[in-house]
């Protein structure tokens, strides 16, 4: 598995061959608060870079989760739909949102590194 890359909309991506795993960052979960509902995409759905792919809701509000990378969904993580609170406990591990078969590795390469993302969060406090 490759190193994690990060988007400005607070998603992370890791790459295994041409299959990317996408989730939301710890920073995102801290901004959202208690997560109480998650909707993940079904396999076969095509998503565009920065297109809406999933939904996450906290006690406060509903937010869209975007795919930082374009491709075709191979799997949505049903476990987090059944237990939305698990996204708060392990957002960058077991509680990934979806996997997709990517078209263009260049999109992955253009995302931020961990250091760049941490700096981005510091400069753009919510």
């Amino acid at each position: 598995m490759s190193e994690k890359k990060f988007s400005k909309k607070h998603e992370w991506v890791s790459l295994d061959g041409d299959v990317a795993t996408v989730g939301i960052t710890k920073h995102a979960t801290e901004m959202l608060g208690d997560i109480v509902f998650v909707e993940v995409p079904d396999a076969g759905k095509a998503v565009e870079k920065e297109g809406q792919a999933a939904v996450v809701e906290s006690t406060k509000a509903a937010s869209d989760v975007y795919s930082p990378i374009s491709g075709e969904i191979t799997e949505g993580n049903k476990a987090i739909a059944d237990d939305p609170g698990s996204v708060n406990t392990d957002p960058e591990g077991a509680s990934w949102f979806f996997k997709l078969k990517i078209k263009d590795k260049g999109e992955y390469d253009s995302l931020m590194s961990k250091d760049e993302y941490d700096k981005f969060c510091k400069e753009n406090p919510s």
């Binding site: 608060g33 208690d34 509902f37 909707e39 006690t59 406060k60």
Partner: protein, 364 residues
């Protein structure tokens, strides 16, 4: 208008509050624990809420004050005993709800607790009916602290002996730190608890005491999930000027005597609605799955006709499921009726539910 702050603003900041702009005030939406933990700790222990943004409106006058107020408030103020409180409303000419409120009889007149976003207009509306010799004051020198939860009585009784004797929806004057304060047994969470009216200069000391008794600070976020589980309305969402008390399923809050005799704003309209029912009515709603039906979610019948809309919806931490309330055509209001909720373009099943979602434990 400049953003307003309550006397406890810096105190909240030191407690790690996240703030949100609410009705012109910078108010804590949550603290470090987050909404779900704050909600649960209120239900299992006790929590305090700074609700000093709400208006504490005092009126003084003779018997004619009652006549004046009864023109806009459909409570039986004549027979309201000193230190007793009622939930009621200000009504417009069409019977629409200008604000919902708690009115308490005091020795010299009345105290009305008004919603922060409405208080300026409320006072204008009430003033239309007042006589020159009626005195009134929106007291901004007072803070208002709600202490809610099963441990509230034990904790407050230690500090202010006598509060344990108060029954639900009654109040009294007490002494604290050499000053008078007014405590009522009431609240907005479905729990036993108190609302404490205390001078801005003493409020920090009171909060110090509560925190030393493991009472958690609770923000507006958990205040909303608590009140919704308790089936209580939020003005500006579940109630507004175009909704009347019959539609709001709050006809119980119009005094029996006033229902018979009338004499308040919108009486003709309300009399008719009381006799014939309203076209739409406020109901509780439980989505079947985990989906949250938030405000403005459209409601459909099982055969796909649009029948209403959601006015409040969230996840209820104590119910451990999503909960909502809204308005549906009256023929669909029976508890158990199957409905559909349109969320993000997709229809999800749900049912009309009893209110409250969470059983109350008031001390009567």
């Amino acid at each position: 208008m400049e953003v307003q702050k309550t006397a406890l603003y810096n105190y909240h900041k030191n407690l790690g509050a996240k703030f949100v702009s609410f009705a012109g005030y910078e108010m804590p939406i949550q603290y470090k624990d987050g909404i779900v933990k704050e909600h649960i700790s209120t239900r299992t222990h006790a929590g305090f809420f700074d609700v000093s943004h709400m208006g504490q409106f005092f009126l003084e006058g003779d018997e004619t004050l009652i006549e004046s107020l009864e023109k806009i408030i459909p409570a039986d103020l004549k027979n309201l005993k000193i230190n007793h409180s009622k939930y009621s409303f200000l009504l417009n000419n069409e019977g629409g709800i200008i604000d919902d409120l708690i009115i308490t009889r005091t020795e010299k007149g009345f105290c009305i607790i008004l919603n922060a976003a409405c208080k300026e207009n409320d006072i204008k509306q009430i003033s239309q009916f007042l006589k020159e010799h009626h005195k009134h004051l929106l007291n901004n020198d007072l803070s208002l602290i709600a202490l809610q939860g099963p441990k509230s009585v034990e904790i407050l009784e230690k500090l202010i002996p006598g509060v344990a004797n108060l029954k639900f929806m009654t109040g009294n004057n007490f002494e604290y730190e050499g000053e008078n304060l007014y405590v009522t047994r009431s609240g907005y969470t479905g729990e036993d608890g108190f609302e404490i009216s205390i001078s801005n200069t003493k409020v920090e000391k009171l909060i110090d005491y509560l925190i030393s008794n493991e009472v958690k600070p609770i923000g507006l976020g958990a205040r909303d999930t608590l009140r919704l589980e308790a089936g209580l309305c939020l003005y500006g969402h579940d109630l507004n000027e175009k909704i009347n008390p019959v539609e709001a399923n709050l006809k119980w809050a119009i005094a029996k005597k006033r229902k018979e005799v009338g004499g308040f704003n919108g009486w003709e309209k309300i009399k008719n609605l009381l006799a014939n029912g309203s076209e739409k009515i406020r109901v509780g709603i439980k989505p079947d799955g985990k989906v949250i039906a938030r405000e403005n979610t459209k409601i459909f019948s099982s055969d796909n006709n649009e029948i209403g809309f959601v006015t409040s919806g969230t996840f209820g931490p104590s119910v451990n499921a999503p909960v909502a309330m809204g308005y549906v055509k009256s023929e669909f209001s029976e508890v158990g009726t199957s409905i559909q909720l349109e969320v993000r373009g997709k229809k999800y099943g749900g049912k009309i539910s009893e209110l409250p979602f969470y059983k109350k434990s008031y001390v009567k």
